[in-house]
C-alpha cells in the first residue's frame, strides 16, 4: 500500500511544485531506498566475508572430509565436524521437543482460554522471558540445573539433557508469541460456528482453530528451531564441549556454535578457517529456515 499522491503535483503540470522540490523529493526517495538496501548489503557482506574466510577449507581439507569427518582434533590436523553437526541437531531437536508443546500450549491458552486478567499476567511473562540474555540463562543453568542433572544421571551434569531444558525455555517466547499471533488472526466466527454445532472448547481448538492456524504455528516452530541452532552462550556453558558423538543424555557433547567459541581464541591457520567454515554453515542453515518460512507463507496465500 502506498499512499496516494495527486498526480498533478508530481507531473508539474500545475506550477504548485517547483522543479527544485521535485528533485529534492527524488533524492530523498533515493536516500530512503539506500537505507532500506542496507539490510540487503548487510546480509551480502556477511555472506561474502564469512564465506571468503572459510573458502580455503575446501582446498586445505576438502568438503567431504570436513563435513563427514568423524574426528575433530585440530592439534592433530583432523577437521571433521560430523560429531559437531550431530551435536547441534541433537541439542536443537531435544529443545524443540520440550519447548514446542509448552510454547504452543501457552499460546493456545492465551488466545483461547485466558481471561483478560490471566492474559495480562501470562503475556508479559512471555515477553520478559524473551528479554533475558542468553548468558543469564546459561548462568542459571550452570549454578542451579547442572548439579541436579549431575545427581540424576550419576555423571557430571554437562550434556544434552541440561541443554535441552534451558534451550527449551529460551525458545518458548519465540514460538509462543508467533503462534499466538497466528491463532489470534483466525476470525471469531469460525469458533462460534463450531460452538453452535455443539463442540466443546477443546474440540474447537484442536479440530478447527489450530488447523486453521497451522501454517503460522509451523512458521513459529521453524523460527524457534533457528533460534535453537544458533544459540551460543547458553549452550556453551551447559553442553560439556566434548567433540564426540552422542554418548548419553548426561554425557558431554559439542555443537557447532559452542565449538567455535571454545577454539576461536587461539586458533590459527587451517583451524581458524575451519571455524569460519562452521560459521558459514550456521549462516546457511539460518537463512534456509527463513526461506522455508517464506515459502510456507506463500502456500497460505
Amino acid at each position: 500500500m502506498t499512499s496516494e499522491q495527486p498526480q498533478a503535483l508530481v507531473k508539474g503540470e500545475l506550477t504548485l511544485v517547483s522543479r527544485e522540490t521535485q528533485v529534492k523529493e527524488w533524492l530523498l526517495a533515493a536516500l530512503f531506498f539506500s537505507c532500506a538496501f542496507v539490510a540487503v548489503l548487510g546480509v551480502a557482506l556477511i555472506f561474502a566475508f564469512v564465506g571468503w574466510k572459510a573458502w580455503p577449507i575446501l582446498s586445505d581439507v576438502g568438503l567431504s572430509e570436513f563435513l563427514l569427518g568423524r574426528v575433530w582434533a585440530p592439534s592433530d590436523g583432523s577437521y571433521g565436524i560430523l560429531a559437531l553437526i550431530q551435536g547441534s541437531f541433537v541439542v536443537t531437536l531435544g529443545a524443540l521437543a520440550l519447548g514446542t508443546p509448552l510454547a504452543v500450549g501457552t499460546a493456545v491458552f492465551l488466545s483461547e482460554i485466558a481471561s483478560p486478567g490471566m492474559r495480562s499476567v501470562v503475556r508479559p511473562a512471555v515477553e520478559l522471558l524473551a528479554g533475558i540474555p542468553s548468558v543469564v540463562y546459561g548462568f542459571f543453568g550452570v549454578v542451579l540445573l547442572r548439579p541436579i542433572i549431575g545427581e540424576l544421571t550419576g555423571s557430571v551434569g554437562f550434556g544434552p539433557l541440561t541443554a535441552w531444558i534451558v534451550l527449551a525455555i529460551m525458545i518458548v517466547p519465540t514460538i509462543a508469541a508467533l503462534s499466538e499471533d497466528a491463532l489470534n488472526s483466525i476470525p471469531m466466527g469460525i469458533r462460534e460456528a463450531s460452538y453452535a454445532m455443539g463442540a466443546t472448547q477443546w474440540q474447537t481448538i484442536y479440530k478447527v482453530v489450530v488447523p486453521a492456524a497451522k501454517i503460522g504455528i509451523i512458521d513459529a516452530i521453524i523460527l524457534g528451531m533457528g533460534r535453537a541452532i544458533g544459540e551460543t552462550m547458553a549452550v556453551l556453558m551447559l553442553v560439556g564441549n566434548a567433540p564426540q558423538f552422542f554418548a548419553g543424555v548426561g554425557e558431554p557433547i559439542s555443537t557447532l556454535t559452542s565449538q567455535i567459541v571454545m577454539d576461536m581464541g587461539y586458533s590459527t591457520g587451517t583451524h581458524r578457517t575451519a571455524l569460519f567454515g562452521m560459521a558459514a554453515i550456521l549462516f546457511v542453515i539460518s537463512m534456509s529456515l527463513v526461506l522455508a518460512v517464506r515459502l510456507l507463507s506463500k502456500l497460505r496465500d
Binding site: 549431575g150 557430571v156 554437562f158 564441549n241 566434548a242 564426540q244 558431554p252 571454545m262 581464541g265 590459527t268
Partner: protein, 265 residues
Amino acid sequence: MLSGCDRSHDSATQLIVTGSTTILPIAEQAGEGFVRASPDTSVLVSGLGSSAGIEAVMTGTSEIGSSSRDLKAEEEGLGLVDTPIAFDGIAVIVNPTNPVSDLTVEQLRAVFSGQITNWRQLGGEDRGIDLVNRDEASGTREAFKKAVMSDDARFDSSAVVLPGTGQVRDVVSRSKGAIGYISVGFVEPRFASRRVKALSVNGVVPTEETVTTQEYPIARTLHFFTKGEPTGLAARYIAYVLSDEVQQGVVVDAGFVPVSERNGQ
C-alpha cells in the same frame, strides 16, 4: 587471533598485557598498583589463553604476553624473551568423598587418556571416572599435558571440557566421580563454599615447599614474554611485578610461589 590491529594505544603510556587466565588476576592487581604509582600510565589486561597471549606479543598487538606454559617448539627462536614471574604447582583434584589419595604419574596418564575408566581400578569405589579437562587454549592444560601425558598419550575426547579454573573446581566439588586439575593456588580459594581434595602425586603432596624444591612433579613456570628484552613501560611494569611488594603480596595471595624463593634470595 583476537587482539586486532589496535591503533588506539600509545605504548609510552599504555601497556597491554594479554594471555593466560591463570596469570590474569596477578597481572591486573599488579597493574592497579603500578598505575597508582605512575598515574599517567594505564595497564590493560585481558585473558584469552596463553596461546593467544604469545601470538599477541609476537605480532606486536600487546607489549607483554603472559603464559602459564612454556613455549612450544615452533614458538622458539622467534625473538621472544622470557621473564619468569612465579612458579605454580598443578594440583590434581577429586571430590572430598573420594577415598583415593595418591596416584602415580603413570596412573594419571592412564586415567586422562581414557584407559582406566573406573575408580575401582585405582583402589577406590566402584564408580565411573568423570574426566574434567580444560580447554585447549589453557596454559594449565598444556602444562599438565607436558608433565603427565607423554607424546603418544592423548586426552580422552569424551572428557568434559571447561573453559575456566573455577568451573573445574566447582564441578569436581559436587560430583563424586570427577577428577580434574587446577593450579595449586585455587584449591582453597576465598569465595568457595565447597571443598575439593588434592591428590598427592608419586607420594608427594603439593605444597608451596614441594613446588619450590620441584619435588612435586607437576609444576610449571608462569611467564611474561616480550619481543626482545623488555624496554620502557613494559620493563618498569615487569620490574614492579618482580618486586617484593608484588611477589610477597599478590603472587602469594593467589597461591603461587614467588620467583625469588626458588632462586634462594
